[in-house]
Amino acid sequence: MSNQPNEGSVIFYDSCPPPLKAGEYTLEVTQQLQEADDPGSESTTYTHIDKQGSNPLPDTQASAFEITGPRFLLQADEIHAVFPPANADGPFEGRLPCAVLKRRTLPWERTSGTTNTSKQPWLALLLFTEDEVTLLDPPSCTVGSVLSHKPFSWVGEPADNAANTLYRTLNNTEKNKGCLGIEVPISLFQEVAPLKSELSLLTHVRQVNTDDKELLGQDKDGWFSVVVANRMPLSGKKYIACLVSLEGQESLLPTEHAELTQPRNATPGIGVSQELSYRTHVRKALYNNNTSINVTARPALNPLSANPVSEGPASENRANRVRSTMEHASAPSPSIENSSLTAAATHNDDFALPNVSINEGITPRATGLYEHVEMASWFTYNPNIGTLTTPAPTLKLICLARWSFQCEGKGDFEGLMKALPESGGIGLVGMTEAQSTNEMTTPSNKHNVALDSGHIPLQHQTRDGEQKTSFYRGPLVPAGIQRNINEGPYHTSDQARRIDPLTGLENLGYASAFELGRLMALNDSRFALELLKWRRKGHQRASKLIQGALIQRKLKDLIPNFDPREFLDHRRLIDELLGDVAPRILTDDLLGTLTDPTGLLDIMDRLPGLDGQMVMEALGLEAHQVEAMLGIDLQSGLSTGGLINHGNLIDEVGLTNETVLAGGFENLLSNAEAEFGHLNADHINELGDFDAFEIEGPQ
């Protein structure tokens, strides 16, 4: 569409009525002939067309046509969005429900007015709590059954029932169509439905930019009509929002309502009881001083006894409304029996008014539906019984859409955020001064400082069983604390315990952190496993590095002009040396204890169970079985990763037992003993002193 609003902006329109409303129309076509040089003259000269002289032009022709549109049903895709979302559960206090319709003309395609020229929209969004309405569903609910509903059948049909008028225009097919509906007490409807004058204020059209994909989805033109409700949800209740058809039923709507003029009180008990009390009042206000009725009410909430609120800046209209309320207030109050109904019994339309007597000549004050319903049929005088009863006259309405939501949580977001300073406060983690004073029985400055810096005293049971008080502070602190990267690593939590020299109290914050980390790691078996694997890999690398340095040093002594860089560049060479060759160089007497960390080699003669030959003979096993069992190679006597390290650092270095590669080092290596022997004496006691074996490789 052309004329799109800019991206991110929305244009609002009051209404978008279609040129013709939905309905049946007749198109009448008549022709007139006019003389060309006398446009104003009557079309009289046509004899040259028809020599017969009779009417040469066809008679007025009428053809009937109908403009259709949603009437009793609304397809789901006609509704773009609803708020609050259907079946949602959230804090919608302070938000008005609304329905966004895809057809911009829809609310004006029919009218709630009685004439077809009325500009009143025919849709309204009404909000009821779950227990206020009866939901009607097809197939039992049909258009006919809703529209022919006679709330006052027990006294006869009201004279001017718009719904029934509409009913009479429908044919049987239409009447039998299933539809969604609701049944509400008339009084409730009067209470929450928009005023006649408000109906159009609650409906508007908006145009948005179609580039706003998130808002629009697949829609193309960016035009929507919006119907807004006028009732606020209250926290803790389940609501049903109904998009109802008011076609031709404008007369149902209230025409006037008094404004609330005294402060709404937020004492506990707001909600059902208060809403009901106000409702009771409305009914009561219907009777003027001509009436003498005993009406039950809750005196504490009786608005009739309220003091008039001084008029603030108000428009003339508003002032009038306020004054009209005052009129009610100043009228001689009906005698109020302090009978104080219980909340359970005060459902507006379920209770019977006991002992009601009614005088002749009542002039109803309220407007709208009450006017004709009020005295004619609300109370009926039954001479046989002599008392009055209040049945619950109800109203059925067609719902074009209906959804429910739960209002949970209080207030709106803005209110909650703005209330932060007064409620829980805004600040840095740590106790306030007042709190810290209470915490310590004998407060000193030191303690307050500790507390204000986030430390709090907690009971602590020492490993000796002693109960004492220690400071704890978690990872969240109220002040930036210098990270001490020279500390650590710590190996036990005890290393992290600190004592405050001034108070003698321990600070266990860091010790707790250590223990917590340890316990969380232990709790995660995969982490522990990966940690061990990683650490073993580190050990292997460390050993390789150390041995590489050792070999490098020895080669340097052996080979003139030895270039360690070249040596180290041959990664494969290093691997070979460390993988298989090195163990042969670093035989036990060369490396001594390093190759025998278990110390078992010295006592091998006392450990026949580790001697492959003896085990094989004693148990009658095959050689490969013994080899597999003890992890040794029977022929070479070398370990393959078993219990014994025989001049071999299997576990440390991850060596393999491949055959020694033939190559440039073979000579050197084949006589390792002779070559390295004289060095042995010098280095055998310095094995750990790797300053002598600095890596000289590329940095």
């Binding site: 809403e275 400082v449 190996h491």
Partner: protein, 376 residues
């Protein structure tokens, strides 16, 4: 029985070795210092994932209902926690030596890791990290605003302006409970914005709440509902009308014009739309009288204009603080400032400020330089 008689020297020399030493000599330089699973696990530990809530807030008075508490992360604390995790299975001096050797490398690796975990969780490709890990800060927010509004948006800035360039990296944002939100930032923010989730346009009113979060009416505003007036025409259409006297904002702060929203006496949950329209018309008329030609208003409020007045945009709460670098000034001030479409309301600045000397005494002298007990 023999022992590893040179172990002391061996360990000492192992200590000087690090993973860089390995990789710079004979091993693959591209290999990460920590396996992925370990670095991820420890990175999350750094971000306090899985920490029992009692360890964060050991006393519930530290985080009462409806409160927000900003904090620095004590990096020593998290380093000790990592020490503890890496101490699992550490029994011999060789493992001790290994830990010593890798300690600094691991610390640096985790400094990077903790900054990309959130991106990885969101399945984004981690962006290139710039510079060293900064001070880590954050806040705990306990409120019905957390339980009621899923998808709050939190943004933190440093540099005095809320611009994308000043945005701090969000390291973690999680609910620790139904109504408790934890956020961690990479750096010390001086602006933190918490914004209502954007769920399209809504209609509604502002609610005046009492201490129990119930709707409360007052003499001036019997319904407890109010609306901030918006401009209807001109360039600022849709924006709230600022409150000024003699062209000078009151207290230097622009206050919005508000009107009380009338409700029906019969049912105070039902808005009196007619009366609301009249009230808005009247107030806008008054403003026009006061402002003269600066303010355009045609005298009537129609359906479209009324809906504009009742629009509720996502509310953004701004918190501003001094954002001082640790440990130069230890107690930054966080002020609550309401920020709403250009108008700002300062609400409170009540944070106790500690003497830097006191903090230093605490953190350095009192608790640090005491000989450790136990240990190896």
């Amino acid at each position: 029985m023999k022992s590893w008689n040179n172990s002391d020297v061996f360990i000492k020399n192992l200590n000087t070795l690090s993973i860089e030493d390995y990789s710079s000599s004979v091993y693959d330089k591209t290999e990460a210092p920590l396996p992925e699973h370990l670095s991820d696990w420890l990175g999350r530990l750094r971000l306090l994932y899985g920490l029992p809530f009692d360890y964060l807030i050991p006393d519930e008075r530290l985080l009462p209902n409806e409160s927000i508490r900003f904090f620095y992360i004590d990096r020593n604390w998290t380093d000790r926690m990592v020490d503890g995790a890496l101490s699992v299975g550490k029994t011999t001096s060789r493992e001790f030596a290994h830990h010593h050797a890798v300690f600094n490398t691991v610390r640096r690796a985790l400094d990077d890791e903790e900054r990309i975990i959130r991106q990885r969780l969101k399945s984004n490709t981690p962006t290139q990290l710039k510079g060293n890990a900064a001070d880590m800060t954050g806040f705990l927010f306990r409120s019905q605003a957390v339980s009621g509004w899923t998808g709050l948006e939190v943004k933190a800035y440093r540099g005095g302006k809320a611009t994308p360039n000043n945005a701090l990296r969000l390291l973690r944002m999680d609910r620790l409970g139904p109504d408790i939100l934890l956020c961690l930032f990479d750096g010390i923010p001086d602006i933190v914005d918490i914004e209502e989730p954007r769920e399209g346009i809504q209609f509604g009113v502002d609610i005046n709440l009492d201490n129990n979060s119930n709707i409360q009416g007052t003499e001036e505003n019997p319904s407890g509902f109010s609306l901030k007036l918006r401009h209807m025409e001109g360039n600022s259409a849709g924006y709230e009308v600022g409150w000024k006297v003699d062209d000078v904002p009151i207290d230097g702060i622009s206050q919005p014009y508000t009107v009380s929203v009338p409700v029906r006496e019969a049912n105070p949950q039902v808005l009196h739309i007619d009366a609301l329209r009249d009230a808005i018309e009247e107030s806008l008329g008054q403003i026009k009288t006061a402002e003269g030609s600066n303010f355009s208003f045609d005298g009537t409020v129609s359906a479209a204009e009324l809906s504009v007045q009742m629009l509720q945009f996502p509310y953004q709460q701004r918190f501003e603080g001094a954002g001082k670098q640790a440990p130069l000034d230890n107690m930054p001030e966080f002020d609550l400032v309401s920020h709403y479409k250009g108008s700002t309301i300062s609400i409170t600045t009540a944070i106790k400020k500690l003497d830097a000397k006191e903090i230093t005494l605490l953190t350095e002298e009192a608790f640090s330089n005491v000989t450790p007990r136990g240990g190896q």
